[in-house]
Symmetry: C2
Subunit: 309 residues, 2 copies
Amino acid sequence: VTHVALGSGEEFDFIRGLVARWGERARGIGDDAAILSLGRGDRLLASVDAAVEGTHFRADWMSPREIGYRAVAAALSDLAAMAARPAGVLIALGLPPAWRERMADLADGIADAVTAADTVVRGGNVSAASELSITTTVLGTAFSPLTRDAARAGDCVYVTGVLGAPGAALRRASLGEAMGEYRARFVHPVPRLLESRWLAERGAAAAIDVSDGLAADVGHLAAASGVAVAIERARIRCVPGVLADDALISGEEYELVVAARSPLDTDAFERRFELPLTQIGNVIDGPAGAVLIDGQRVANAGGHDHLSR
Amino acid sequence: VTHVALGSGEEFDFIRGLVARWGERARGIGDDAAILSLGRGDRLLASVDAAVEGTHFRADWMSPREIGYRAVAAALSDLAAMAARPAGVLIALGLPPAWRERMADLADGIADAVTAADTVVRGGNVSAASELSITTTVLGTAFSPLTRDAARAGDCVYVTGVLGAPGAALRRASLGEAMGEYRARFVHPVPRLLESRWLAERGAAAAIDVSDGLAADVGHLAAASGVAVAIERARIRCVPGVLADDALISGEEYELVVAARSPLDTDAFERRFELPLTQIGNVIDGPAGAVLIDGQRVANAGGHDHLSR
């Protein structure tokens, strides 16, 4: 049983309620900071990601449980991008009064994401706020983390999964239409944690997750590595009804892009994970950060910009 | 020079500007997650703390630089409470449009706190939001972290510093008055990082920082340890013009409370840090979490509740 010994007061009662709901999926809550022991030789990976109502999601698009799941799954994807094993998350909630009564569902969604990633909540913070925000710090460990800056000319470039659904879902929602067949992928992204470790063990050298859109994130990888990347449009696997040009700018996919010196065994990957792994192009010599699609350079890869509102 | 190779887009330009301003005080920004190596045998300490405009501070009480400093200093105090050495911070900003032009000052304040703690910014996140929020994740290392749950009956209980100024400053500000001589301590709290490691090395067994108010935080320590604590009111060192009863509920002090089996050398502490270390009472057998002041049990220790608004 999780040890909880907090003091008195409304905030503590609230946190106690959360921790009780999380049960075994919360660990070591109650001190000023969480304490973690790392394996010898392991390095620590740490990242923070925020989901803010009105900026990253609208509350009428998703259930509270889906909102909680999606916020934490998106943050965990940053560990997947580096082939790290999750070691825990810290959850900072900005909570408007109207959200208090939906907290149990939000907490269940957070637990769904934590459980799916085989990790635990190690700590957090709750503050009153005028809009709901879930700021998730993810902690992970890796002996040899994948980074964005290790792609080299000649590498093969792969992407996991089938793209386009989140972008199509968002487009429909912003027009006031139902998300329909695209909804499931939008509300339930899956951080590719096991997939990335499999890929790292088999020769992937550099990786990034698709959060801003395939073209934009390939551009980030290329910029960090000081190389260019050439993609063939026809190779991009899209969900039915979505064109490759739209899939290229569909954000919040949380699929992985990896670059590998030698070809990867895509069949073995697909058998293991029941998920496509597709070579979409190659790393080439060229201006750092350039993305060429069918030989034509993309001026501005586009994708999401969370400062726009 | 810090390596920065981010992609294009407004958000990246903004982050690039921040990182450039931080210079050497930002490290390894640009990947999905920060990578840290820990010393052998060291454990990782991690905590998250939010400062939300309207809940934790009002923008007309402090300069942007003071707001940035104070948010990060408060978060670092959680590492001080556990006698950990800072290993880096992650900064998640919720940024209203009106705050963009004040970002340079806010960033300088964040840098002030990071520099004072001899640490670096390892990563972060920027999101549009309707109110300013600074959510700081602190990472630290410790071989033997201090915890709240290790106080035992018979321990001596100490507090660092002179209490009461933040509470007095807040009271004046909420009445629309100038904070006057109490302002400096309110806007510039000092996480007691070196002090806590000194205390841990010399026999402190349990610790907590004073964020909710001395009485409340002693109560949290007592609750976590399953003991009671008896305090003598006359022993509490207060800033001029503040009564002990007000100092007992003054929050956001970020001084340390420690419990030690044997008396600590308060003179040596004061010589080393030019800061008082005062025995205010003892741990006693009694109801878990009870705080007695001059023998009388405090019903509800009070202090801050960041869910009230």
